[in-house]
Symmetry: C2
Subunit: 143 residues, 2 copies
DNA sequence: AATATAAATGCAATTTAATTGCATTTATAT
DNA sequence: ATATAAATGCAATTAAATTGCATTTATATT
């Protein structure tokens, strides 16, 4: 995914710092979501733990990043599609969480709407499929 | 939900201890899922923290309890429908996570199947809707 | 270009959550 | 009644997240 960190920051009136740029760059490297621990490992020498927490929180609040929880309660981050805004994350696509490599993919599959029971009003719906991803399926076949 | 802890334990060849019975009873009290911190608060004087962790893990492994992660990465537990077994949780219903009271409901809405992209094989699909639950909607109207 | 200032960062310290090891207790098969 | 294998509780450890504060940095203004 090609992104323009400087533009994104300006768009949300956030100060342009090298730490904020690095975080965006790192997350944009891959189409799959990256986990908090992975990010920490990759950026730990450049960016303080606490700063990373704060940057991720701000990005989530602003709708720049999209946070997906995996089965272990670990936060994973991906760049939001441009349709996301501060008050409403458009999560109506499927997340595929590979139980082998633990990667989380944002699939371009639209989730069919299900109607809520009377009294319940849903704002966002998040769907996660657990299974084996493309890459891991290929690896298994080879062995 | 009416459950028979003794029977459930026997069914899964688990030893019958008062702690295990208490945990099942407590969780069965309500149809909504209960969070780990809530359980700890309720049972903290009867059951040791560590024991609670272990019991919950075993129950999840055996398919007795169903663990649902909320947005904060907090584990919530509900009794599994009888269709769940050790190797396969049947989660193909919707969880409704109220953003006001934070309760998680297991709704009796069947999720329409979406087909996975080529190469991806899904084993379970979990859908969570975020919004305002029945009770909280009523409260809001009153004010 | 210099500078004022408001915000972001990094570090230390703290708080909270989860895990591990081990001695004691308990359930159950004989 | 008792042997034994498993479960529990406690203490200690490890890991994760948060808070407070001094220092640094970005940017608006002169």
């Amino acid at each position: 995914m090609k992104i323009d960190p400087t533009h994104i920051l300006k768009e949300h009136s956030l100060k342009h710092t090298k730490q904020r740029v690095r975080v965006l760059e790192e997350i944009a490297l891959d189409t799959v979501a990256i986990s908090q621990p992975e990010l920490e490992k990759k950026l730990g020498k450049e960016i303080d733990r606490v700063t990373l927490y704060r940057i991720l929180n701000i990005y989530e609040d602003k709708g720049i990043l999209h946070r997906i929880m995996d089965m272990n309660g670990t936060a994973n981050y991906a760049i939001c599609s441009s349709a996301c805004s501060e008050d409403h994350h458009h999560d109506e696509h499927i997340h595929f969480n590979c139980t082998n490599c633990h990667k989380i993919y944002c699939l371009d599959v639209v989730v069919p709407h299900s109607t809520m029971p009377k009294g319940f009003t849903a704002k966002t719906v998040s769907t996660t499929a657990y299974g084996i991803c493309e890459k891991c399926n290929l690896l298994v076949k080879k062995n």
